[in-house]
Point group: C2
Chain length 469, copies 2
């Protein structure tokens, strides 16, 4: 857990800024230990590093005021959505102010004719979809957790629907952001495409709060499809399942979801959800389209998968059956934890070109076995993206060391296969060394951009760039 390095603190600046913010925000300003600890909650193994204060702004103007105070006194600003990020993004290694955006949770506008909406950053994806349902619209990006849309934009999140609908970079049309000097900008208007200057929208998406604090998001929406059908199919091997995925994508079948569960995950799901699936690699799918369209997609997929040895093809007939299937998928985190009660689950994430997927997954399985680790694998495999949840005893230093060897192996292998050390979780504190391995000199130009926009280094310090930023 060497990632969570403490950075030098500007004690005087912090004390001064806290005094000012306490005055300005009254009962929306907190320094109680429980509140601080809650805002340094990290969902993986990275050691928590609490901020010095938590502030709950209610408007862009208030966020701007907070950032201006922090800029004046050189105090770190750490944006906080729901705290579900996985690489230590909400930690405060140099202390500072956690800006909790949960009170900025309004859907500001829905433009149904334009298939877009404008939301505050604290709106969660489930909240938005509930808001949209009566309009026949939905927002497709589904990272699993009910994350805030500001957080999802900040980490360039994606998840199960990305194979069809893209990631946050493809679904954010424009952002309003408070920049490191406290000024407010809009990165674009609402046109579906633009060639007007540098793409600040996509520079801020995935910048993990290190360049500015997102205060408003214009999102693309989709019409709820006329028909949705889910399906599952079992395979004799990871190779066979990956071959089916690759051929499906090559044929241009517009699958909305195509998820791989390895044997361990299937066993966990059977036990946790009372299912009776063959305990071999499994693909879960979803098709969106017209009634005819989804039937055709399912049939085509079935034929492709049978050719490579797929069995037990089943489609869902009702929304209830479909929801049960996806609930089992979304509960896998809890289900796999039950494979080793008391263990801590460490989620890691890589993404490779789809032609390398079978090698990457089977290589990971072999490495886990070699290291004597329990590490079930699940993947958004249409994009070549997969996760391993390493189940470890956090009291066992040797096991922790082996788990670190394993996650390093995954990242190194993904990079070697022309993939990336993170498909959707981000760099945060956990993946900093791999970013440099992956992109080399390009990271120096990233740092130059950081230096130009945030010369004091106050925006979420110690993320992406390591201790010096």
């Amino acid at each position: 857990m060497a990632q969570a390095i403490d950075l030098p603190r500007n004690e005087d600046g912090i004390a001064t800024a806290l005094g000012i913010l306490k005055q300005q925000f009254g009962d929306r300003f907190h320094t109680g230990q429980a509140m601080l600890d809650q805002h340094a909650h990290t969902t993986t193994w990275i050691r928590p590093q609490a901020p010095d204060a938590v502030v709950f702004p209610a408007s862009t103007q208030e966020v701007s005021e907070i950032v201006k105070v922090c800029a004046t006194h050189q105090v770190p600003v750490i944006p906080f959505g729901t705290g579900t990020s996985l690489e230590g993004h909400v930690n405060a290694p140099a202390g500072g102010v956690s800006v909790d955006l949960s009170q900025m949770n309004k859907v500001l506008a829905v433009h149904a004719e334009d298939l877009d909406c404008v939301v505050q950053p604290g709106v969660t994806r489930n909240q938005l979809n509930t808001h949209l349902r009566d309009r026949g619209l939905f927002f497709p990006i589904d990272p699993g957790a009910d994350a805030s849309l500001g957080g999802m934009a900040s980490t360039r999140a994606s998840g199960t629907n990305a194979v069809r609908y893209g990631t946050m970079k493809d679904n954010v049309l424009a952002l309003e952001a408070v920049m490191p000097d406290g000024r407010v900008i809009r990165t674009a208007q609402r046109a579906k495409k633009t060639s007007a200057g540098y793409d600040l929208t996509r520079l801020l998406v995935g910048s993990e709060g290190t360049l500015g604090l997102i205060t408003e998001i214009t999102l693309k929406l989709q019409g709820i499809p006329e028909a949705i059908q889910a399906a599952r199919m079992s395979f004799p091997s990871i190779d066979a399942a990956c071959q089916a995925v690759m051929t499906t994508i090559q044929y241009g079948i517009p699958v909305a979801r195509i998820e791989l569960l390895d044997e361990l995950n299937v066993r966990a799901a059977n036990a946790y959800a009372g299912l009776d699936l063959p305990e071999t690699p499994l693909l879960l799918l979803e098709f969106h389209g017209t009634e005819n369209g989804v039937a055709e997609q399912a049939e085509l997929f079935g034929a492709i998968a049978e050719d490579v040895g797929g069995t037990d093809f089943a489609t869902t007939a009702t929304a209830e059956e479909r929801n049960k299937l996806w609930k089992a998928r979304h509960d896998l985190y809890w289900a796999t934890l039950q494979l080793r009660p008391g263990a801590h689950g460490i989620s890691t994430d890589v993404c490779v070109p789809i032609s390398r997927l079978a090698d990457a997954v089977t290589g990971a399985q072999a490495k886990a076995e070699e290291l004597d680790l329990l590490a079930p694998i699940v993947g958004h495999v249409g994009d070549g993206n997969f996760h391993s949840l390493v189940l470890i005893d956090m009291e066992d230093a040797d096991e922790i060391a082996r788990a670190e060897t394993f996650t390093a192996f995954l990242a190194d292998e993904a990079i070697r296969m022309e993939g990336t050390c993170t498909g959707e979780h981000g760099i945060g504190q956990g993946k900093m060394p791999y970013l440099i391995k992956e992109l080399g000199a390009a990271t120096e130009y990233m740092a130059a951009i950081k230096g130009a926009l945030d010369p004091q280094g106050i925006m979420n310090p110690g993320k992406i760039f390591g201790p010096l930023r």
Copy 2:
């Protein structure tokens, strides 16, 4: 034509750099006037500003050497693809070296299983598609001209297929670029998605050569659809045609192309291509999918369009018919010029939220009439993007002034409607004042990025940011 302002020249630096490059590049180094003029060819009304020399590098290493020489002597570097950009991007307002990438025209790799390829920047889109055809693959972005893929990436180009397949920002997976200090970076690997650090890929896409020179592009590819069907339908008014477009998009019909031609364009196409279309607003469409899928899409569209008064719905039965239809579309530039023989055509481009499209187009038509200008309108309307080709007598100063009033009106109106002053042509020299109107303070952060990556301001100076950059 105030846009093409001459900038101060660094005569000593230019002389020194030219001497060195002449030594290094021999017969691939040119200073003949014809060659210089050809590299300042601008396809609209912006006054040509020739470079001092043209160099034809054959490799990334050679591009790096050119940029290093220019960086050492503070000499402008202007990348050149095919010269088809529309806002003065290839002009050299402070002189300098035009880097013609036409000899870097190799398709370096096609990864059919991963649906991607790696190309040099001088490869044109037609060249790539010819190369791919036997593999059953294609690259969908079609801006009309047979532009180079490096140029298309630099201007964030899109065109007729963008409504389904996105723009260059959605189809570039990774770039290799020579940065302003001459160093070579890769912005990403080949994974379909990544959360690894700042999105330098999309920062360089659309940066118009002002941040670095693209030397290699990794592109997403598509499988050639099982079935392709084109269609056309006539409408009693622009309003009716736009209503049909909006409903089609809202229903999620995955049209591959949906193009609007106004009355003037239809008249021009009839005359030029010997067609016999009703001289009312026309939509041209293309559907991609399975045989059943395209039939279903066409039927759904037909029903939607009939509801709003559409008539004369016709689908193509053969590839030959389809090609004839799209040839008529692609020849519109030449066809509309024949509406006023001898006139110069000035192409301008805006993009608005689709709910504002009818207002924007009819407003433009009314303004053209008020100004007594002939300005046919054609649009990639599924995205809310449309063009006007203003036909003017370049000897008539008053007419030029009225045309400038007209293009300013279009940009201002688009911005007022929450759209953009350019959907796909870029800012270049022609749209600089509108960028600031559209994005205000955000442009200062763009300039900060420019300053950080190119502190000497040598990369394509006088573009995007105005005379000072």
